[in-house]
């Protein structure tokens, strides 16, 4: 049976189900227990699992990240709650020098099964240090898997897969989507990593959107449909591993692609995906692959400025129109 639940509830359910299944799982982070996080995503868990498994920490991100790494190396499966994605800068050493490399450096003898759950997304008027989408940084580091759920359904299925994975997995939730509802089955399900979701079939252009940008691409596709442009929409769901085949097959069919992501455009996700398409579907392209990331500026506080830093459905539709009509091609 499928009911509609919020993304927040989906994450909560995924964690609760897995914690019931496996005693070695515990949650650790700031205000995760009674407060259930500022976004209330974890509400109720401490009541069920106790403070031994839902652990409030001091405001010491590097510290509790390191603690999670050590716990993961010794039989536990910690889920680390990092309140804002922007704080990932604080845990980079423990995440990237320790967690990501331990399995390799030990020749496969030690492993670090942990989940780091955090968030991304701007336009919440939270300014430059609480609005970043920093998944590209993590995706660059070998040894880390990176999941980007785009709805409650994905949030639950990817979280459960992440918890069962024997590697460090970083999940970025879109903080503006916590209250968005989507159909989620009552029955247990997992979403395998590395399997993109073709959300919508189309002929003329492939829109590849991650996380918050999946909805943007869907809405752009609706706009375009009215104009007779048929857009295929793909959600990679995980960027490490990346389901290149599904993306390439789509672009080989549509001959055009736009990659849309809420991280900064430069040196980010869009360049990676666009360059793989440009290389591996070279002969199939009728137009240059388009990249639409967040503007390369720190996220401004002022609503008048913040809103223009992030791709919108209209913006994506505009770009699609241009490449479908060949207008951007001849400039290149």
């Amino acid at each position: 049976m499928t009911r509609e639940i919020t993304l927040s509830k989906a994450v909560n359910e995924a964690i609760a189900e897995e914690m019931r299944r496996d005693e070695t799982i515990f949650l650790i982070g700031e205000d995760v227990a009674e407060a259930g996080t500022p976004f209330k995503v974890l509400s109720g868990l401490v009541e069920e699992f106790g403070t031994d498994r839902v652990i409030d920490t001091p405001i010491a991100e590097p510290g509790f990240m390191g603690i999670a790494v050590g716990a993961a190396m010794t039989g536990s499966r910690p889920i680390v709650d990092l309140m804002f994605g922007d704080f990932i800068f604080l845990v980079m050493d423990q995440l990237c020098n320790q967690a990501a490399k331990t399995h390799y450096m030990s020749g496969g003898k030690l492993s670090v099964p942990l989940v780091l759950r955090t968030n991304l997304g701007a336009t919440r008027r939270s300014a430059a240090q609480h609005s970043q989408s920093l998944h590209a940084l993590v995706a660059h580091i070998p040894g880390l898997k990176v999941a980007l759920p785009s709805s409650a359904y994905e949030a639950k299925g990817l979280m459960k897969t992440a918890i069962r994975d024997d590697n460090p997995v970083v999940i970025f939730e879109d903080k503006l989507m916590y209250n968005d509802k989507a159909p989620v089955p009552e029955e247990e399900y997992l979403i395998p990593f590395g399997e993109a979701n073709v959300m919508r079939q189309g002929r003329d252009v492939t829109l590849i959107g991650t996380s918050s940008m999946v909805q943007v691409c869907q809405k752009a596709a609706e706009i375009l449909e009215k104009e007779g442009i048929s857009a295929e929409v793909i959600d990679p769901r995980t960027i490490v591993p990346l389901d290149e085949e599904t993306i390439l097959n789509s672009v080989r069919k549509t001959s055009r692609a736009i990659v849309v992501d809420e991280g900064h455009q430069n040196f980010g996700i869009t360049g990676e995906i666009a360059s793989r398409i440009s290389e591996k579907a070279f002969y199939h392209l009728d137009a240059p692959v388009q990249r639409m990331g967040a503007m390369d500026v720190p996220v401004p506080f002022s609503p008048a400025l913040e809103d223009i830093t992030v791709p919108t459905p209209e913006g994506v539709a505009d770009r699609a129109r241009l490449i479908c009509r060949g207008e951007l091609v001849h400039a290149a």
Binding site: E30, S126, A127, A128, V297, F301, S302, L305, I308, T309
Partner: protein, 334 residues
Amino acid sequence: MAPKKKTNTEDYLRMYRQMVRIRAFEDNANQLYLSAKMPGLTHMYSGQEAVAVGICEALEDSDKITSTHRGHGHCVAKGAEFKQMFCELLGKEEGYCRGKGGSMHIADQSHGNLGANAIVGGSMGIATGAALSARRLGKKDVTVCFFGDGATAQGLWYEVMNMAALWKLPVIYACENNGYSEYTKTDEIAAGSITARAEAFGIEAHMVDGQDVLAVNDLAQKLVARARKGEGPFFIELKTYRYHGHHVGDINRDYYRSKDEESEWKKVRDPIANFGKWLESEGVVTADELVAINDEIRADAEAAVQYALDAGYPPANEVDMHVFAGVDHALAYV
């Protein structure tokens, strides 16, 4: 409150006014939030006024401070104006940061406020560096680093205390212990003793009642003078209380602290009311004069709010300005 000599009438009144200004600013900011006129959310300083004012009144304009997510009080106390502050809170072009920073990044370099910070503990290095810079450049500036009790959990503090102590930097670490880290009593997440942590680095540590503006100011004056002479660094733990929730949206907070506790602090230990009473009892001002001060400041604040509401947003082409100093528009550059 210990009796004081009346030689300092002007100073006393300025401290009183500054505390009232902070309270008035916060009440208006809260109102802007509640009436959905403010973008995002913000953290109220109400209740902690004696800390910011007691310390900043001991500083020169050229002395520096670093501030926190709960930073309006520090900003006002260090000399900022209502208009530019409200403009900043509303994301308007005339704000201190042209609307780009907002509440959590308000900075006012003209009075030595190096900025609020949305990373808990994030300014501890900055403050220490400002002190090093002042010393190296032969300036006499002292820097005060404000942070909360929760921030003492951040490793950065221990790193910079070590260097500040080694190099005898003119920096004062001022921990506003309001008892809470967001929705958790800090006692539950802090082991041992906070003053002992500073002392372990050879830093002289003090505790003071953060609701008593004169006590705070006395101590601050002494330590600032000593820091200026090269006897720093120092640490102060100031026991205080925040009246509102962690942020303006934190309304239902029974699960982490009781209404009784809140009203006890407000009734018995309010820094403004108590200082007002003392000023009266010492004959520095009359009750009527205090009311007049309050009214005048409230009217100021409301006018500034209206000004800010009417002010313009930055134009869209500002969005990629100020990414790099010396580069007009970053998007044309990178």
